[in-house]
């Protein structure tokens, strides 16, 4: 990282010399400053050279500053943020599929004078066609459906309730956002904004992107980055909370082996979930519908070539464009504000409350039920598939190396995805 900075400094210095100091501060920079009206006649060579100097990115960063810092130095800072996200994705392996693509979208969108994110630019199209319409997150959700095995949930349906408890993180964080609005100057979240921020606690990328693209497009960048970053940080955020809320005996609870699940049960599940969705909560139908469509293609066994493509070529292509499009929301104007800081703080609160709620719900269920649940699998209800389930397994085997909780934790884990989608659908119904 230090070396990266060093290279940057050297580059900036050497190039600063090459381009010279711009002498037209205070003017607004318009794109492609070199163009003359009559394209058939270029300016004289010295003028042309000066024009070329004023079309460099360095000049753009400096002169853009003159109209407003968010169009000059701010863009440069956002490019640094982009490189930081690349570092997190590549070197730290934080959800790289999304962070690398978001980072590239962020960098490309913040290049002055390039216009990649202006009407006519490629990333503008990507955002306009795929994100604003909600198409890309829904297609990702279809792919996630084709990748999800609901077997553990079907083998032990009670774990569905754990996936519900974790959604408490969504709603309490929403209230947190409203509290910040009331008490912190410079932060002004509407109710819609608060709902979008809360959904970070759903720990589910496509749901967060879909909901905030519909309710609060201006916060989409910060919310997505927070959601994916904290999903990657689940192994750091969750364990202390889980340890604090459980006794060593509880963490040692062994759960009985999961029964085998019939193929027909797996085929029925997406149909049941879809039916409940259209009967009870039609506003969640796009999310749950595409999720269950992907899952039905996976399980029904007669369209394997479609589900293979859905969970490979299609989800990969859409991921690339989704990342670029989300990255385009990381503009200095929208991202570099005290509100982003607020969102980052609220996001970690959301994850923490969701984790705690899941664990406590498991303990509550143990009060009423004979067959005990290891409360460590409660935290997996926040989603963050499959990271959170792995954390449960990890903590369980620390207490008792023979205890295999992974598959048990997959139940609340995938239930959490459904739960977040239901919460998002309910919020859409209220606000849309």
């Amino acid at each position: 990282m230090k070396r990266l900075v060093l290279i940057f400094a050297v580059l900036a210095f050497s190039l600063g010399i090459l381009t010279g100091t711009p002498d037209s501060f205070g003017e607004t920079v318009d794109q492609g400053a070199i163009t003359t009206e009559k394209t058939e006649e270029l300016a004289s060579l010295p003028v042309l050279l000066k024009n070329i100097a004023t079309s460099t990115g360095i000049y753009g960063f400096i002169a853009g500053n003159a109209s407003s810092w968010v169009y000059g130095f701010g863009m440069f800072l956002m490019i640094i943020v982009g490189f930081l996200l690349l570092y997190l994705g590549i070197a730290k392996k934080f959800e790289p599929l999304l962070l690398v693509t978001i980072a590239f979208g962020c960098i490309l969108s913040n290049i002055p004078l390039a216009g990649i994110n202006d009407p006519g630019g490629i990333i503008y199209y990507v955002y306009d066609i795929g994100i604003k319409t909600g198409v890309f997150p829904l297609l990702i959700f279809m792919g996630v459906g084709a990748l999800t095995d609901f077997g553990p949930l079907l083998a032990n349906p009670k774990t569905i309730l754990l996936g519900g408890a974790a959604q408490f993180g969504i709603f309490s964080t929403m209230i947190g956002a409203l509290l910040l609005t009331q008490y912190v100057p410079g932060i002004d979240f509407s109710l819609k904004d608060a709902a979008s921020i809360g959904i970070i606690g759903g720990a589910d990328g496509p749901t967060a992107i879909y909901l905030s693209s519909q309710l609060s497009p201006r916060l989409l960048g910060a919310i997505s980055v927070a959601a994916y970053s904290y999903m990657a940080l689940v192994p750091i955020i969750q364990p202390p909370i889980m340890r604090a809320l459980t006794s060593s005996e509880e963490r040692k609870i062994r759960m009985k082996q999961l029964r085998p699940v019939a193929k027909r049960e797996k085929i029925m599940f997406p149909l049941i979930a879809l039916t409940l969705c259209f009967l009870l909560l039609p506003s969640a139908a796009p999310l749950i519908g595409f999720f269950m469509f992907g899952n039905l293609m996976r399980e029904c066994g007669v369209v394997d070539r479609l589900s293979d493509t859905t969970k490979n070529a299609l989800i990969n292509i859409v991921t690339i464009f989704l990342g670029l499009g989300v990255g385009s929301r990381l503009s200095a104007y929208e991202f570099l504000s005290i509100e982003t800081l607020g969102i980052l703080v609220l996001g970690i609160v959301a994850f923490s409350i969701g984790t705690a709620s899941g664990v406590l719900m498991a303990k509550l269920m143990n009060v009423f039920s004979e067959t005990k649940i290891n409360p460590l699998i409660g935290s997996a209800g926040v989603s963050a598939v499959p990271m959170a389930a792995r954390v449960s397994q990890d903590m369980g085997s620390k207490e008792d190396p023979q205890n295999v909780l992974l598959m048990h934790a997959m139940g609340p884990n995938v239930a959490g995805v459904v739960g977040s989608a239901v919460a998002a659908g309910m919020l859409l119904a209220v606000f849309q």
């Binding site: 009670k158 519900g164 209230i175 709902a195 049960e265 409940l276 792995r390 459904v418």
Partner: protein, 76 residues
């Protein structure tokens, strides 16, 4: 506005739980209907046997993958 948030929380958690409860009950009902083979539905007579065979390797694979992951994480 915080009151509005509280309202949303109450309603939201209620809806989430109503939905998931009904889902849980439906899944249990579905399990009762479809769990056993030999109930006369001809869809795939050997399915439960097949899936019994399949579930174990799936778990084994997942556990193995997880352990490999943890091992590599520890190393780094």
């Amino acid at each position: 506005m915080i009151l509005e948030g509280a309202k949303l929380m109450v309603i939201g958690m209620a809806i989430v739980y109503v939905f998931l409860l009904v889902l849980m009950l439906s899944v249990m009902l579905s399990a009762k209907l479809f769990k056993d083979s030999g109930t006369g539905v001809p869809l795939d007579a050997g399915a439960s046997k097949k899936s019994r065979r399949n579930v174990l390797p799936v778990i084994a694979t997942a556990v193995a993958a997880y352990r490999a992951k943890r091992a590599s994480d520890d190393r780094s």
